[in-house]
Symmetry: C3
Subunit: 335 residues, 3 copies
């Protein structure tokens, strides 16, 4: 056996985490993750059927919005994101049905990647990324992570790390300008990818945190490169090492965000500006982005590879996993 | 014929632009540009004579200053800039006679380059760059641009792009420290070149804008590289893509400007500091600048080449030119 | 003779500097430096004995702290710094006995390097760097510099420049996170090395200045590279060329410092956070720092070499030294 005596404390921890903190939604998902392990990390037929049911049951979001979206002919079929084709631009909204607070799982990251792939070849001039609900994105889904890693740490560490790598790579390689509208908290990977987007507007209610070291993780989303560039090495490290939280205003004054808007008029302000941008020439937008990004692209791709390699190593080592588990267990006892 | 049916709408647009918005000064210049086209973009004898007259007629600026300058023995002969040799430093003032608001034409950029060339070999320790009037520099002269491109887009797109490239290159390669004093608006190329200068002081009245994409242009002056470095990628892109305006205070808090002074005492404050700097050792100043700039120089030269290449392509394509013309026409109807 | 007629004005200047400004402590040190010159820049037996006495006599600092430190078994023997092994981290305090205001001499820099060397292999997870007294570090000790350079400028310029190079290199190469707590003024090299540390916290009382060109020196400590990166090229150059002073708040809003604390609770706030950081996994801390720093390391090492090479050239040229001496003499007459 690969994991030997280490399996039991992790599985025990995992059980406690499930019992004490996570909602029925998490429970369902964690069961699913257990199911899929049987088919070596793929999605078994059984769990696919189950998910269908879960999806219907968990249908708990802005119904009006979904209704509108469903009306839209050009809208592709996604589960955890909503994609709207607008005049001149594509709008992707994080709206996760299978995780809380728009947390990211490999499945959700794949959907975003697919949507980016579609938007890169459609006739839109730019991309708007935002979220449904009060949270922009809470980063990697830790309960998913623990569920998977505790079942097969070697295989899953590779699968999840590669999934993050491909997700981040899709942002690095996207050729049209990406405008991102941050309605609320952006955490972990949800904050890390912001410098890979081109314009970042935030609601007064947004805040930003990447508590990697605190949660016993190393940086991802190229934040080890982009954060020091933008925030200065001191603040970047305080975010990465100490979990320093930035308010929207702080993030703006330090350059992570370009403008902060009042929450009540946030969407209108963003829409107004995005529509204006979409009147620009597609060639000029794409070539301008190329000029701004081209010399960084290969550096970012290298950083992304390194970061994901390190996460994989951490997750596949019993020491790294122990540390992650004991941290999360500690958090649970604190609750 | 190269341009075929496309010529007429541009020429029509050009005529409208001339009729509706531009002053007699522009009219003269545009006529000149038509003249010089006859001699393949060079300056015909005829137009040289004409310009002489225009120069005398357009003599409409701070006469007291010009008078003082004329007294100065060491002052070279320039038409659109004023150059003063001071104790320890050279002072270049933008003071365009052939464009409004210190807008830049290839001819004016050549004068600045010549002045930089002189200052690089004289006994001055540093260079002060400022402007006469209430505007620092309004960037590329669009009416000039349109006039030329509508007459011979292939030849003129190359000539103007190369002129920008050489102008920007002169700043990149200048070895002595450049202090720039921004008295008022700095737009487009007039804002883009600031990060190529070493110290940027601004009056409270200054503001900064590089609305490239809005005007259907791609970035120039290395702003695609320097703006993200200094302002963070989000704000840089908001300036380049959305034409976001920065006040002097915003530009200072984000690092484009190093200090803001009260308008009424601006020149004195600048002069005081420049004179103090000029007491430093010439070797230390030049070597310090070398240390700060050397590792960036080749990157900046590459970016400059790329940016100008892209502008040339844009201007020599009928699509790019159409888009530029229709934008400027739209602006004229708005007036 | 190598220096010919140039020796006398420098030695005269040196004598004046000693007479007019420096304390008995400087006098002792300068005498020592004279002594050690006899043994070609090494430390002669004679001066070693002398130093021992000086050390006892000059014992003028927070006695309570030194007492506590002396109790600590794991504390190594240093003269100008204090090293404390704490739970999970190593604490280095600048506390110079042989210079005023924690100014740096090659000997003090060697002690810091030795302490960094020890901390890199002990079981600590991170390093805390701070200072005893009201000044963090006043940079290079100019009276030491003048004393040495006036006695043998060729040999001493090499020795001192190499000493700076190795000191800075030790920071660049240190693998564990370095937290630095700035209690008061950080000047010259004492400010330059901050971007080589990972987290920079400052007391409201701290301020920052690197008046290189003003003192007729070129930048050191990689500030020619890191300052433009962090502060933007305009402010970096204003600091390097004009000696612009930054308050703690300014340094924080521009990214040199990540957070400013109230002076009365500064140490507690820092300790609280450092202890929290020290609960993180050592692997995660070191790997995170590796990710953030790895791509910069070779660039920084190159910059450091260049900067020290330039200082050496400046100090070994009679012109550079003349300029430095006449500046410092001018300062003395001002006092």
């Amino acid at each position: 056996m690969e994991r030997g005596g280490l399996v039991s404390p992790w599985q025990a921890a995992h059980r406690q985490i499930k019992r004490k903190k996570y909602s029925i939604l998490d429970h369902n998902r964690l069961n699913k993750s257990k199911g899929s392990t049987l088919s070596n990390g793929g999605i078994s037929l059984h769990s696919a059927v189950k998910r269908k049911l879960v999806e219907d049951k968990d249908y708990v979001f802005d119904k009006r919005l979904r209704y509108n979206v469903r009306q839209n002919e050009s809208n592709c079929r996604f589960r955890d994101i909503v994609v709207r084709k607008e005049e001149g631009f594509t709008h992707i909204l994080l709206s996760s049905q299978t995780s809380d607070n728009n947390a990211l799982t490999p499945e959700i990251m794949t959907e975003v990647r697919r949507a980016l792939g579609n938007a890169s070849v459609d006739d839109s001039k730019l991309l708007l990324l935002s979220a449904v609900g009060s949270v922009f994105c809470s980063g990697l889904d830790y309960s998913y992570l623990i569920g998977r890693l505790s079942s097969d740490r070697r295989k899953e560490s590779t699968r999840i790390a590669e999934s993050i790598r491909d997700f981040v790579k899709a942002f690095i390689q996207f050729k049209k300008p990406i405008v991102v509208a941050i309605n609320g908290p952006a955490l972990g990977l949800g904050a890390s990818i912001l410098p890979l987007c081109d314009i970042v507007w935030a609601s007064e209610k947004a805040w930003f945190q990447t508590p990697c070291a605190t949660i016993r993780l190393t940086p991802a989303g190229c934040s080890s490169y982009t954060f020091p560039q933008i925030l200065g090495v001191a603040l970047a490290n305080e975010m990465l090492f100490c979990g320093r939280k930035l308010t929207a205003q702080e993030a703006c004054s330090r350059g992570l965000v370009s403008q902060v808007f009042w929450p009540t008029t946030f969407s209108q302000e963003v829409m107004l500006r995005v529509k204006e941008m979409a009147t620009c020439s597609a060639v000029v937008l794409e070539e301008s982005k190329y000029l701004v990004r081209s010399f960084l692209k290969s550096a970012l791709e290298g950083v992304n590879e390194k970061e994901c390699q390190m996460l994989k190593q951490l997750w596949s080592s019993s020491k790294g996993l122990d540390s992650l588990f004991s941290y999360l267990q500690g958090k649970i006892y604190e609750v």
